[in-house]
Assembly symmetry: C2
Homo-oligomer: 393 residues x 2
């Protein structure tokens, strides 16, 4: 596909912020005010660009003209000077696209605690502004990368009311495991026409089931952000189309989230922890999350070791009332545990074979109720430690 | 010192449960019913011996005659047969020391999900029974080890009302990081005379500030247990002595907990996360715990990398309302962060030098209130991954 979205222009530019070089300024511009909805990190320590973007999104009532992104420096924990730098980025981007600064969102990712080299940033934003074009999405998706091994893009074309609709996005994060915080940033554009007020709950639902249900190391960065812009160039959605669009947005986020996990340095296995039989969705999600974040489970995944006792131990630590004698566990279609103990004919070789696969499911049935919840997990490997311990900031 | 405690006999025996050989049955016997208080894992998946010991402690109203321990097999997730095995261990130990089965506590540690080899256990308990003697504490403290590199014992002699009092204990756990769950077990004896009802809150206070305020990987095992037995041979404590005894018990637990962390395979740095200036003790503890469990902080500790941004990020993720612009951080006496950003004259070399030490403090001031809380943390190293990922159960 061509990676274009009617109504939008994109650019990537080299500003010299990243030590290793390459594109490090990304710009999205909408020709007219676009509906926008976004979610931001729930970390109480928020970087300056996150604070500014939340403010601008609220004050503009969800109608924005552009997003300016830099990689190589997170502009986090940088004090009042950092807040001024983020404001300056919005001003420069607004000037480059002919908008007001309040109509621009700002995102940053990279090292924490260092001020941005604003002379370079200024030149980079100028350069991005003059190179904006309708086919610039590939350059944009590369410009937002930090330690990511490859750009991660996805599209989910759909037809609504007989009209073709474009829905595409890109994400970065190296599985949130890279040095210096490894912020997750995601930008999605569509030419569908949707009210900001209707777009917002769709975005929250899509994120809740995907980005907010995955973990590499259990932490949220100071800079996390996911934003969706809708130009409306393809016409306003009918009431009936909203549900289908919401489903498509969820599918797109699931695709991007899975790519994000797979690209994590040191990640060899992306494992879906699927819990059912819980008394509530909250309980199911809590159990899935505890299993997904347990270092003992994650090292067992790394070693392809069907050490099911660690999974039961993690379930018991989830802070959820469970029937400790009823638990059932399977790896894909291989039964492992029934009634909270090993199945009589447990086939260790088959269990280990599932765990060799790059992607598989650990299915847990609590046998207590009707509710389900899941989490995307990965292994805790030597590479994770190398990347994060051996690296010097 | 001689590691004796009036009123108690100890033994260690070889039953052949541990694959690698060595002492694997430990027995403590009190000549008369002793006051006992204990805390058990809060994991909802509890091993059979934990369920039995809770029941016996309750039904005996805190007066017990002995504790039987095996290492090499956790008797966890072993179904109804495992419960029968734990009951049989209590019976055999009771017979060996001339008590009723309901007066005996049982503890197990080792692989999970496998039934105990009861013929060996039976021979081992018999052997321990015949070798009980007043100087058997060293053998007992060795018999409870799994992957621990060395026995961990401590004593805290004190004089109360002019009389010398013995207070000593041992612990195992290899920092809770070893394969197959690495249960923490701790056994403490004293010849002081204390009511079970007064001993219980002292034990909870001591554990709250030590064992429950440390983390290697954030998980509790299915088998964790800490028990204190008081023979009363040295006479009953006066009212005035109780506070001093409680403080001594806390100091003993702190000593044992620190030894436990230091002995963790792959642990090179034991770091106290000391939070002050919080609005409540709960908030202070929550922040300390989040910093202590953050994989990004733990890998920074492993790499001796003064990457303070990770600490601020973890603080922000603690789920506690904080003033994100007021945070102060120091490594021992080296200032690192003020007003949530690097101190102007941050000395990276001095900061890194502190982080090379085997034990140091990360002091965090939230500048919001008067409350404090702390957690004991350690590094997340390559050895941790090797031990837990490369090991096959």
């Amino acid at each position: 596909m061509s990676w274009q979205c009617p109504g939008f222009l994109f650019a990537g530019a080299v500003a010299g912020i990243k030590k290793k070089g390459g594109l490090d300024i990304g710009l999205i511009a909408s020709e007219a005010p676009a509906s926008c909805a976004a979610v931001f990190t729930r970390n109480r320590v928020r970087a300056a660009p996150v604070r500014l973007s939340r403010r601008n999104l609220r004050n503009s009532q969800g109608l924005v003209r552009g997003i300016i992104v830099n990689s190589g420096n997170a502009n986090a924990c940088t004090g009042p000077g950092g807040a001024r730098d983020a404001g300056r980025m919005a001003e420069l981007a607004a000037r480059a696209i002919g908008a007001a600064p309040g109509e621009v969102l700002v995102a940053s990712t990279g090292v924490i605690g260092q001020r941005l080299p604003m002379d370079r940033v200024e030149a980079g934003i100028h350069s991005a502004g003059v190179s904006l074009y309708d086919q610039g999405f590939a350059a944009f998706s590369e410009a937002i990368m930090t330690t990511d091994r490859r750009p991660k893009v996805a599209s989910h074309p759909l037809t609504l009311g007989g009209r073709p609709i474009t829905l595409m996005g890109c994400t970065k994060g190296a599985g949130m495991i890279a040095p210096n915080m490894a912020t997750t940033l995601t930008f999605i554009v569509t030419d569908a026409g949707i009210d900001p007020a209707r777009l917002d709950p769709m975005v929250r639902r899509a994120v809740g089931g995907t980005y907010n249900a995955m973990t590499v190391d259990g932490d949220q960065s100071t800079n996390d952000m996911l934003a969706v812009m809708a130009s409306g160039v393809a016409g306003t959605l009918d009431d009936a189309d909203h549900a289908r669009f919401g489903d498509a947005l969820l599918a797109l986020c699931a695709d991007l989230a899975h790519q994000l996990m797979s690209d994590g340095e040191g990640v060899h296995h992306v494992v879906t922890i699927a819990v059912r039989g819980a008394t509530s969705e909250t309980a199911a999600r809590a159990v899935a999350r505890k299993v997904a974040t347990s270092p003992l489970v994650k090292t067992a995944i790394a070693g392809a070791d069907p050490n099911w006792g660690r999974i039961l131990c993690a379930i018991g630590n989830a802070g959820v009332q469970i029937d400790a004698r009823a638990i059932e566990v399977a790896f894909d279609d291989v039964p492992i545990v029934a009634h909270s103990t090993a199945v009589p004919d447990l086939d260790d070789a088959r269990a280990a074979a599932v765990m060799q696969k790059p992607a598989y499911t650990i299915a847990i049935d609590l046998h207590q109720g009707e509710h389900r919840g899941q989490y995307l997990a990965c292994d805790l490997s030597h590479e994770y430690v190398s990347i994060n311990a051996d690296y010097r900031s």
